[in-house]
């Protein structure tokens, strides 16, 4: 499902303008990274799509659903079954004593057939690379990284078309980051999901995203395919947008040695580039 935002703005009840005329389309089968400084409106974009906030101006269209300042048109339950959301603080959304209960609650909510549930529990954890011993853990004893992965697993269990991830890399080590990258890339192509990731971890975004939406003070600073956005790294740097380490290194080399390296996502490709040009 494509998410189309036309002239979307959001003003908080206290009068702060958190988003200002955002025009952007989140495409189906693509991973879009939403980046920008703290307080630039990354989370607000996700909040608008999951209907926690309503846009004060403009409209959002998603397939047959339509959202504007008055609310949403369409069946709201059906709409929510299309949306998966992993919050930045997933622990606050857990309320059972066991991870297994937490997952089966979600399956129940979306009327998953009873016979298949037990089997589905283990499969769910397997998808995110955690073993089944986690089923019997107390959700509150999990570290923030583990909680993140389990929350993602729970959300994937009912197969939503749209996946919203808010800071998914908090507390993840590089192994689990890699698992997450592989997983997201696989489900985006295989199931044609629309994936939105709001994150300040630009290195992670550089590796996983296809498209970028760069926000600054609620406005769109730059948007489009990742390679195109990163080509204007100088402009982003002037606006205080953090850049991926690889991009920074490439810029540093260009500045000091006048050698142009390609825009790379993986460190191994950068190594090859350096060997070719030195």
């Amino acid at each position: 499902m494509e998410i189309k935002m036309v002239n979307v703005g959001y003003q908080s009840p206290k009068g702060e303008l958190l988003l200002d005329s955002v025009d952007f389309s989140f495409q189906e089968g693509k991973i879009t990274g939403i980046i920008g400084p703290t307080g630039s409106g990354k989370t607000t974009v996700l909040d608008l799509i999951r209907l926690v906030k309503l846009p004060t101006t403009g409209e959002i269209t998603m397939g047959k659903y339509f959202i504007n300042s008055k609310g949403m048109q369409g069946n709201i339950n059906e709409y929510y079954s299309n949306i998966g959301y992993v919050s930045a603080d997933p622990k606050s959304r857990f309320f059972f004593h066991q991870v297994a209960e937490e997952i089966s609650f979600q399956l129940e909510k979306f009327r998953y057939p009873m016979e298949k549930r037990t089997q589905q529990l283990e499969r769910t954890l397997d998808i995110v690379g955690l073993d089944s011993s986690y089923l019997y853990r107390d959700p509150l004893s999990l570290s923030s990284g583990e909680a993140n992965l389990i929350s993602l697993a729970i959300n994937l269990s009912y197969n939503p078309k749209i996946l919203l991830l808010d800071e998914p890399t908090i507390g993840l080590d590089s192994f689990h980051k890699q698992t997450l990258i592989t997983l997201l890339m696989r489900i985006r192509t295989r199931y044609q999901k629309t994936i939105l990731i709001a994150s300040h971890d630009v290195d992670f975004i550089n590796r996983v995203a296809d498209e970028l939406l760069v926000l600054k003070d609620g406005k769109v600073l730059s948007s489009g395919p990742k390679v195109d956005v990163l080509k204007e790294s100088q402009k982003l740097k002037e606006c205080n947008i953090s850049l991926p380490k690889i991009t920074k290194f490439e810029d540093y080399v260009m500045e000091n040695k006048k050698i142009r390296l390609g825009r790379r996502q993986e460190i191994n490709d950068l190594v090859k580039d350096i060997l070719r040009k030195s």
């Binding site: 908080s12 206290k14 702060e16 920008g36 400084p37 703290t38 307080g39 630039s40 990354k42 989370t43 930045a88 603080d89 107390d138 004893s141 570290s143 923030s144 990284g145 583990e146 800071e167 908090i170 507390g171 993840l172 080590d173 590089s174 192994f175 689990h176 300040h200 630009v202 205080n240 953090s242 380490k245 690889i246 290194f249 540093y252 080399v253 000091n256 040695k257 050698i259 460190i267 191994n268 950068l270 190594v271 350096i274 060997l275 030195s278």
Partner: protein
């Protein structure tokens, strides 16, 4: 040398599961110590213990005070812990009020003046009039760090407390922390991002409640295998130089970007 944290043969378990077993750790006053540990290695538990939230017994000594119920108030004055998720610690008010509240717990007589001085060096001025709950998660981390710093602790413990702040702000904050460190503030930073190592003057590696390495930040290059087996990465430029060294480039471990680039293109 004066010691700010002393833990001797300390054991601690949580729900029947041993998290620390005969754990010993000392930290010298004035150090900027970075503890690197993978997911679930006991970082948050350690932070909670240092604040006196978990266990109170005589195996732990902070600033020459044993951690027992009698000394707890005094210890909490000296130790401030900033957690990754600051939300439970904030009240519903403006950032300015939040900072003033933090100061009211100290014996500062001119809170207004102190806050005004503080915001000149710490990047929080633009947030002062905003409501704490309208802030983004990264900004909440900044506020919570600011309230901790305003209370003039002797030991500041950061439990991934800068993880949501974007890089430019983070640089500014770290510059500030380094200054405070030179003035005598001891800092203990618990993190799983090896990139952060370079800010400290000491580096320890924590795994499953055990300290398996301690040394200088540069020594991290020697730990490649250990880091990899714990799913952690080397800092970016050391990683890059190691990879290049397999092809005969970069024979030495560089200290920063400049050295690395100069080694590649002599």
């Amino acid at each position: 040398m004066e010691k700010i944290v002393e833990m001797e043969n300390f054991s601690f378990s949580y729900g029947g599961e041993a998290i620390f077993y005969q754990f010993s750790f000392t930290m010298v006053a004035g150090d900027f110590c970075v503890i690197l540990g993978p997911m679930g290695s006991g970082k948050t538990t350690l932070a909670r213990i240092l604040m006196g939230l978990e266990a109170t017994h005589d195996y732990i000594k902070i600033n020459n005070l044993f951690m027992n119920p009698k000394n707890l108030t005094e210890i909490r004055k000296n130790v401030k812990v900033v957690f990754e998720n600051p939300i439970p610690f904030l009240s519903n008010s403006t950032v300015y009020q939040e900072l003033a509240f933090a100061l009211s717990k100290t014996d500062c007589e001119t809170p207004e003046k102190k806050i005004r001085q503080f915001v000149q060096e710490f990047p929080i001025e633009s947030l002062l009039s905003k409501n704490v709950f309208s802030l983004s998660n990264g900004e909440k981390q900044i506020v919570s760090l600011a309230s901790a710093l305003l209370q003039n602790p002797k030991l500041l413990v950061l439990d991934e407390a800068l993880s949501l702040i974007d890089e430019n702000k983070k640089e500014q904050i770290l510059d500030f922390l380094k200054q405070e460190n030179q003035k005598g503030l001891s800092i203990l930073w618990l993190t799983n991002d090896s990139e952060n190592l370079m800010y400290g003057n000491k580096f320890l590696f924590l795994d499953k409640g055990e300290l398996i390495f301690s040394g200088k930040p540069e020594d991290v290059a020697k730990l490649e295998k250990e880091l990899n087996s714990h799913h952690l990465e080397l800092p970016f430029f050391i990683d890059l130089s190691k990879r290049l060294s397999y092809y005969g480039k970069c024979s030495e471990i560089p200290k920063d970007y400049k050295e690395l680039v100069d080694q590649i293109w002599k």
